[in-house]
Every structure is written in C-alpha cells, then in structure tokens.
Symmetry: C2
Subunit: 221 residues, 2 copies
DNA sequence: CATCTATTCTATTTATTTATTGAATAGACA
DNA sequence: TGTCTATTCAATAAATAAATAGAATAGATG
C-alpha cells in the first residue's frame, strides 16, 4: 500500500462517518435519540417521516455504528451508541451555527414570529439560582423523557398539559423552562404561554442532553 | 412558520455544513489547509486531484464558508476560514476513529507494512522532555510549512532532505519527529529512516495544528 | 494594450443518495 | 402452531453529487 492509497482509504472511511451525519433527517434523529431510546414509529412521528423512511435512515446510522438497538417485546428501541455521538452533534451544530448565517436567521425569525423576546439563561447561571432557591425549574418535554432522566429539582410539566400544572405554581417565583435542545421549541412555547399568563419565565439555553454532558446534576428514577 | 417547517429548515441548513465535510477529498483538503494557505495547484498536487476537480471542491467549501481566499500576485491562496473548522475536523476524526474500526485497521495495516513498531509520545510527555532537554525535536514537513509556524525549539528537517540533516544530529539524544497530523505519514517515514540509521526515534502523536490548538508553545518567523 | 497563466466555469457522463410503495420477515404471544 | 404486528427489505423513480475535459475568465505582468 503506497502513501496515496493509504490516504485515500483513510479519508474514505472517515467520510463514511460524516456522511451518516450529512442528512437533515438523520441529524434530527440523533438530536431526538439524545433524549433516550425510541421505537421506529416514535421516531417517525417525531420527525415527520414515514416509518419505512425512518427505518432506512436508522439502518444507515446503525451501519455507521452511531446508533444501537435494544429489543423489548414487540418493539425495537433505538438509542445512541455512545454519548460521544451527541458530542459530535454539538460540534457540528456549533459549526453550522457559526458559519451558516441562515441557521441563526431561521431560529431568530421563528422566535420573533412567536412575538416574544426569548431571553435565555445559561446552565451556570441556573445552577447559582437553584442554589439560592430563586427559581422553579420546569421540564416541558413529554413525561416519558422526564422519567428517563431530568435536571435535579426540575418539575415535570409537559407542554401539552401545561395548563393543568399551572395551578400548583406560585406566581412570585421566576420560572425557567427547558426541553430537548436548541432546536426544540417546547421551551419557547412554554415561555410564551407562561409570560402571557403573567409569570416571569425564561428558557434555559441548554437542553437536557447538554446539561447532562456538562456534568451538572441530574436525576434518574 | 409552524414547528415542522422550522425544524425542517434548521436541520436542512445544518446538514449543509456537514455535507461540505462529507467527502473524502474535502476532508483531506481541510486537513492540509490546517497547515496554512495553499494555492489550488498545491492542493491538487498534495491530494492527487486534478486542478479543476480540486477547484470544484474548494468552491464547495467556500460556499459553506469553511475556507477563505486571499489573492497574492497571480495566485489565489486558500486557507481555513477559522481555527474552529479544524476543531470540527478533529471532532469528526474522533468519531470516525472510535466508531469505524476500518479506519484504525487501515492505519495499523499501513504502519505494520512499514515493518516498524511505531511508538508515539503525546504532547504532554514531549513538553516535559523538552524542558529537561532530553530530546531533539524534528519537524519533517516541507520547509515552507515549517516557516509558517512550528513547535517551539523544533528543527526543520524535511523528510525529502532528511539525509542531509542527519550530519548535524548527534546519536546520543532521543529524536521526536512530527508532521501534519495523524493521517500524515512523513513522521512515520522519518522514524523508519532514523531507526534504521541507528537513532532512537519516535513520532509525536499530535501534528502541528493540534499542538497549536492545544495552546502549547509555537514559533512563527 | 496584449499576452500569459492560475483558476473557474460549462457540459456531460457516471455514481450516489433519497423517498415511496408494497411485499417480506422476524419475533411475540395466544 | 398460527396469527399478529413492528420493522425491514426490494424495486423504482427522482434528485443530488462527482469526475472529466475543454472552454472561458480575470487579473497580473511586460
């Protein structure tokens, strides 16, 4: 094997891993799987794909060793093969958000369209606020995802049942809502509703997976 | 814009950045550009591409804002748009090397093919050794790349003129050779030659760009 | 201004990727 | 054992990406 053959082989193999990530649907699937395991149908529903199409993309990710399966009864659950995969997604997200102005534009357009000034606080600030007991932290993801793991001291208030949860929440404290990550809009929706109801609410910049990856305190049941 | 449209747009834009990296030749080009700026022809020569083809790939990278141009006389020099791009490459490299066993295999096959036990030391070890004046550090990249920037206290001993350089190098000290990065074979070739001539030589795990990115001492002229 | 040359563009062919549909499969459970 | 069902496979069509070769361009230099 000469130098050129060696380099060709190495870069071709390397590009296979990148190609597995080089598709909008697969990026969305990885982002979703960072919350935990999901069946093919759940993945299809969450991403707007047909089941067959979702399955194909999952095969693609599985071949690249980025996801793994785990059979439970009649269902097959897909999950990330390792935390490092999410790390790569964060890397790629940084790249996209830094060098593709369009990404930033789409996000700010969407948030402005919601007619809310979506201020966000970061993980470090939240840690201090939680220590001082200044805030109530709301996990607005579906309950199932909360139960798999959530930020220490967060309450489960799924976005679609937010109305019910409000009764228990006093208005005098500041609320912080978080969800799956920067491209998940549950927290935005929650802040919009809460603000409209007279609460003082902001979103957390980080989603649950990033929070956990940074080593901040989490709880599993 | 509804939720689905928003997500579709975000992930499509995000995938554009990834698609720019999802090609073996473009990965190799990025790896090369981490050494500094190169003309289209230099890039073509270094990667085994035709000039027209290299130019096309460069346009692709330019559209994704990953590389920038800088005109000098009759030539156009391409360089990475920011250090962060190389960061993304490292991320992707980690992903590939961790989850694609084939990458590791190709590398070890190639090194074994050279009939040398290619031991390597890491940056931290080297720093200590340099402080204790225990080693001579050799930059075996082309002289031009050395002159753009190199590791503090390294000598320029380009691989194709290594024979000439040897006269000045005493045999009693250990030699450490480094080059462009993990997929560059100059350091391997150098270690093979040096060992064969009776020197005690090893390669540095990191290439120059990684060394610099980690904040270890460098020198520019 | 004319020429030279590094680079880019255009057109074409070939290869790869994606979505869709309907059929096939593999495992669970009665 | 047979049925049920979640998932995958296979075939096709449509879209996108890549390599090649030759023409075009833009800027430098005399």
């Amino acid at each position: 094997m000469n130098k050129r053959e060696f380099k060709d082989k190495v870069y071709i193999e390397l590009s296979k891993a990148v190609k597995a990530l080089a598709n909008p649907h697969r990026l969305e699937i990885i982002d979703l799987l960072a919350q935990g395991q999901f069946t093919v149908e759940q993945i299809a529903n969450n991403t707007g794909l047909s089941v067959a199409n979702a399955s194909q993309h999952l095969q693609n990710l599985k071949n690249a060793k980025l996801v793994q399966i785990n059979r439970k009864g009649n269902f097959i659950n897909y999950s990330l093969a390792s935390e490092q995969i999410y790390n790569a997604l964060i890397c790629v997200r940084e790249l996209g958000m830094t060098f593709n102005a369009e990404v930033k534009k789409v996000i700010s357009d969407f948030r402005n369209g919601q007619q809310e000034d979506m201020r966000a606080i970061d993980a470090e600030t939240l840690v201090t606020m939680l220590e001082n007991d200044e805030v109530i932290l709301l996990d607005v993801r579906p309950e199932e995802e909360y139960s798999r793991g959530h930020i220490h001291r967060a309450l489960s208030t799924p976005i679609d049942k937010l109305g019910n949860s409000l009764k228990k929440i006093p208005k005098r404290k500041m609320l912080v809502a978080y969800c799956r990550g920067p491209f998940c809009v549950y927290a935005d929706e929650a802040v919009a509703i809460l603000t409209q109801k007279g609460y003082n609410a902001v979103r957390l910049e980080e989603g649950y997976p990033e929070w956990a990856l940074k080593g901040y305190p989490v709880e599993h049941i």
